[in-house]
């Protein structure tokens, strides 16, 4: 269940953003992606999750091991908290949602339509979804946005349990999470403007 990235280049909107990204992530490890705004963290995560294809380089990960959570939470405003979660559990062939609800302190909100939650409550629900996927490698894009301190602690605890159980995670974040994770500064991999004359190059 390890993720190996070798010499990866990725583009956003047709413009190369990162190049030469390499790292290995073993089970039980977490990696924090750091870098100023616009440096390409979201782009990298989407590429790793398979939502866009890499320009170059390789991503090696077991099939069906990656769960992605982006800036948006993928919640349906008219469905209740429990219905939202149960849906994702069913999609991933999983079953119970109780553990996930408990881990993010969503007990008592089960019947509330997701649209009526506050910003932080929505985010907690979005994170709870990760637990029901049952997947090993989490790709998280700024997971603790809008969370209060207590909720950040809940997230850190859930993450630690996940890592202890042999999972791993790649996390783009601007705030320190204190989970003893390695960090990777993506600004070091900023793509250089293309040089020379390969085919199609003129457009990149």
């Amino acid at each position: 269940m390890s993720l190996t990235v070798t010499d990866l280049s990725c583009a956003r909107g047709g413009v190369p953003v990162l190049e030469g990204v390499s790292f290995t992530l073993e089970p039980g490890q977490a990696l924090e992606l750091r870098g100023p705004n616009g440096s390409g963290k979201t782009t990298l995560l989407r590429t790793l999750a398979g939502l866009q294809s890499a320009l170059d380089g390789g991503i090696e990960a077991p099939d069906g091991a990656i769960a992605y959570a982006g800036h948006a939470d993928g919640l349906k405003a008219t469905l209740s908290v429990a219905e939202n979660l149960r849906f994702w559990a069913a999609i991933y062939g999983g079953g119970a949602i109780d553990a996930a609800l408990a881990a993010f302190d969503l007990r008592g909100l089960e019947e509330r339509p997701a649209g009526n939650l506050s910003a932080g409550q929505k985010r907690r629900l979005g994170l709870a979804r990760l637990l029901v996927t049952g997947r090993a490698i989490w790709m998280l894009d700024e997971p603790v946005v809008s969370l209060d301190t207590a909720s950040v602690a809940l997230f850190a605890a859930a993450l630690k349990t996940h890592l202890a159980g042999g999972g791993s995670a790649v996390i783009a974040t601007h705030v320190d999470l204190d989970i003893g994770a390695g960090t990777l500064d993506v600004s070091a991999f900023r793509a250089a403007p293309a040089q020379g004359g390969a085919f199609d190059e003129a457009f990149l």
Binding site: G108, L109, E111, R112, P113, G115
Partner: protein, 242 residues
Amino acid sequence: MSLWEYANPRRFMAVTDRWMPWVFGAAAFCLCTGLVWGFFFTPADFRQGESVKIIYLHVPAAMMAINAWAMMLVASLIWLIRRHHVSALAAKAAAPVGVTMTLIALATGAIWGQPIWGTWWVWDPRLTSFLILFLFYLGYIALWAAIEDPDTAADLTSVLCLVGSVFAILSRYAALFWNQGLHQGASLSMDAEENVSDVFYFPLLMSIAGFVLLFVALVLMRTRTEIRARRLYALSLRERMS
């Protein structure tokens, strides 16, 4: 005591609790008498034959369809001006009753049209305006159903009801302008000369009274339900917040 006191939900519940059986009883009595009288004990009309018996359903239903909308308009205004919840909820409660009345008028009219005009439906202005009224009811009910927060829904449906009323009247004149129709004129005017003869008249009056009472009874009952549902919503919200 001011009339507005009844707009207090508690008071409204207490008072209507006592009224309910009486209103329902009176409605059932008038309706049964009117319809049974009309159906079994009135002669055939010399022109329309036995089909005239449909009048005991058609006319009262048509009247109540319009009156229900008028009631909703008044209730909406009261809500917008004085913000009494009972008033908004009464408007909500009346809409399905009004829609049923409209459907009855349309259905009986269509059935009546087949023998008299030889077709189920013509684009006569009266019929057309009724169809449009039906559409307004649908929109109103759909808007209530679509919005989750009850006070927001009450505000928006009230505005819709106001604007809709103006356009409903405009549509009526537009339809009149567009096509002069086949439909009966008013036959219940005060002028004795024009009136339908007494044999038809009294059972018709009885049946109209029955429809009015049934409308009142249903609206009261449904308003009570809506008040309870509103309270339930408030309670469950509070429960979830704590």
